[in-house]
């Protein structure tokens, strides 16, 4: 087999050295070795301009939102709503009121489960999920099914980790109420043909929720072009802080849905006899929201937009191609997830070596990867493995870091030789 050449033409796509200089954490050492951070699918790192935004908010702008008439409250409210506008532009929503701030993707899915599921899914109804979902897009629907007497139908996949679209089409019937689907698989990297799948669901009059946790950080997302009914994603996987996420919902659905939580800010008026709910999106944002985190997420989106999502996608594609080629040449490697359309996620096993041992030994080399079932146990069962090792890339990763990973894997194999 011939070595895969480093794709020189992509060197010009991004100035990765310049980008890396924005990330203080990438300069640190782990176990006295330079950090090679390849666990971006779990959580990404934060660049200095985004860190600075958080600090500036706390130093100069903090107060509660939508409440007081004083200056700081007005500033905090303005910046919080400006962040909502940025999110709307980032995913091309029709209007900012279709953007709900959540704690993360999981809460976004749970919000749809409560607000949409409890209202519109009844006994005997069916929800279509795929075989490659994260637990966060399985468990809420199982809870709903148990409560309502509804049932799940699962789109199967092939050995490459691609969903079988013919089988998908066959799952629809008059009982189908919702399709809940990952845009990109966290465990396998598969990019699902969601546009086509949404189109198919809509032909049956069924709305679609996309779990975009692994897609939004890595490619341009246009919710109007996709025509999805809901889109959930997390801030901390896209250079933002933890504790903040986004649920996009088409206004016509959000208007019809029940609130998720009750409390302050989500009401127009309250008496002991009756409460009138606020308009969307506030109806779904009970209590004091994560103001600092939302504003900082807005700064993260500015940062990503400044680099350009298409340039990010192109660089990550080149990393994936290079890393896949290099990994395939290592003896004893089995790649789990070999879809034609993939994000920069490499899930693999090493013959005779448990992924946790590989993870621990790579960590001793300063290389951070994830080992485990990736909160996707049905995917592991499908491929007949208890766990995999997973290297997942971001736009700040380099080809040299791919080489470090490969060298690290050789070292792991030496320990077990």
């Amino acid at each position: 087999m011939t070595p895969v050449p480093m794709p020189k033409q992509t060197a010009a796509v991004l100035d990765v050295d310049k980008i890396r200089a924005d990330f203080p954490i990438l300069m640190r050492q782990v176990h006295d070795l330079p950090l090679v951070y390849l666990d971006n699918a779990a959580s990404s790192q934060m660049p200095q301009p985004v860190i600075d935004r958080w600090v500036r908010y706390q130093q100069n702008e903090h107060a509660n939102v939508h409440r007081a008439v004083h200056a700081l409250s007005e500033i905090a409210t303005r910046e919080y709503e400006a962040a909502r506008d940025k999110v709307a532009r980032f995913i091309n929503a029709r209007e900012p009121r279709e953007i709900i701030f959540t704690r993360g993707t999981t809460e976004g899915i749970n919000l749809v489960m409560h607000g949409f599921g409890r209202a519109f899914i009844q006994q005997g109804d069916e929800i279509i999920l795929s075989a490659l979902e994260h637990h966060s897009n399985i468990v809420p629907w199982q809870m709903l099914c148990e409560e309502k007497g509804a049932r799940l139908r699962i789109i199967p996949m092939n050995d490459a980790g691609e969903l079988l679209l013919d089988e998908y089409e066959k799952l629809f019937n008059t009982h189908t109420r919702l399709v809940a689907l990952a845009h990109v698989s966290n465990a396998l990297g598969t990019v699902n043909p969601v546009r086509e799948m949404i189109h198919a669901a809509h032909r049956h009059g069924v709305p679609v929720l996309l779990d975009g946790a692994q897609a939004a950080p890595h490619m341009a997302v246009d919710v109007q072009a996709l025509d999805c009914d809901f889109y959930a994603f997390s801030g901390h996987k896209m250079c933002g802080p933890t504790g903040i996420g986004v649920l996009y919902g088409k206004a016509e659905w959000l208007e019809k849905m029940q609130p998720y939580q009750g409390g302050g800010d989500m009401i127009l008026s309250v008496t002991f006899e009756k409460t009138t709910y606020n308009a969307i999106p506030y109806k779904f944002e009970a209590g004091t929201p994560p103001i600092a985190a939302a504003i900082t997420l807005g700064a993260a989106m500015d940062y990503l937009s400044g680099i350009g999502m298409d340039a990010i996608a192109q660089h990550e594609r080149a990393l994936l191609r290079y890393a896949t080629g290099q990994l395939r040449q290592v003896k004893g490697v089995r790649l789990i997830g070999t879809a034609q359309e993939k994000a920069a996620v490499l899930s693999f096993t090493l013959e005779g070596i448990h992924p946790h041992d590989a993870g621990t030994l790579l960590d001793m080399e300063g290389i951070a990867i994830r080992a485990g079932h990736h909160c996707a146990q049905p995917v592991m069962q499908r491929f007949g493995v208890p766990a995999t090792a997973r290297a997942s890339f971001a736009f700040y990763n380099t080809f040299a870091e791919v080489d470090a990973l490969i060298a690290g894997i050789h070292k792991v194999q030496k320990v077990f030789a």
Binding site: H354, P355, M364, G372, H373, P386, V415, F416
Partner: protein
């Protein structure tokens, strides 16, 4: 060399490749299953007790090297011992792995098992080393299963 790496090199060189007492006892009178739900590791133990004596013991499972080596060394150590002596080892092993027992300064009965003191350097892997011991404890008490998530350590 760090204790963590040393642990790996010592236990993997030997017990991971040639685990002792690997398999299932046909005439077992005690069995228990151990699970680590966080990583999916699974181990099954079978024992033959004669009164208070561990006459035979075997393990089988799909586990990482640390868990497998721990299980291998555990079975080799407790075979022929009384249940009470094995319980002492269980307690001491757990205490060593979680840092409550400093084998360098405090007295113990762990002998070669002392190599697992290095697992303290790998806090995310302590549960891997302790799982077989948990499972042995469950087998003595005729509980059919043990989990690393019971909050006992």
């Amino acid at each position: 060399m760090s204790d963590g790496r040393q642990l790996y090199q010592e236990v993997i060189m030997d017990h991971n490749k040639k685990p002792r007492n690997y398999g299932v006892l046909a005439d077992a009178n005690r069995r228990a299953e151990g699970h680590n739900p966080l990583c999916g590791d699974h181990i099954s133990l079978s024992l033959r007790l004669d009164d208070d004596l561990i006459r035979e013991i075997a393990f089988q499972g799909e586990t990482c090297a640390i868990c497998k080596a721990s299980a291998s060394m555990m079975t080799a150590n407790v075979k022929g011992k009384s249940v009470a002596d094995a319980e002492t080892l269980i307690q001491e092993f757990r205490d060593m792995a979680t840092g409550k027992l400093d084998t360098a300064t405090q007295s113990h009965h762990l002998g070669r098992l002392n190599v697992f003191a290095g697992v303290r350097e790998l806090p995310t892997r302590v549960k891997c080393a302790v799982l077989p011991w948990h499972t042995l404890h469950a087998a003595f008490h005729e509980e059919s299963s043990a989990t690393t998530e019971s909050g006992e350590f």
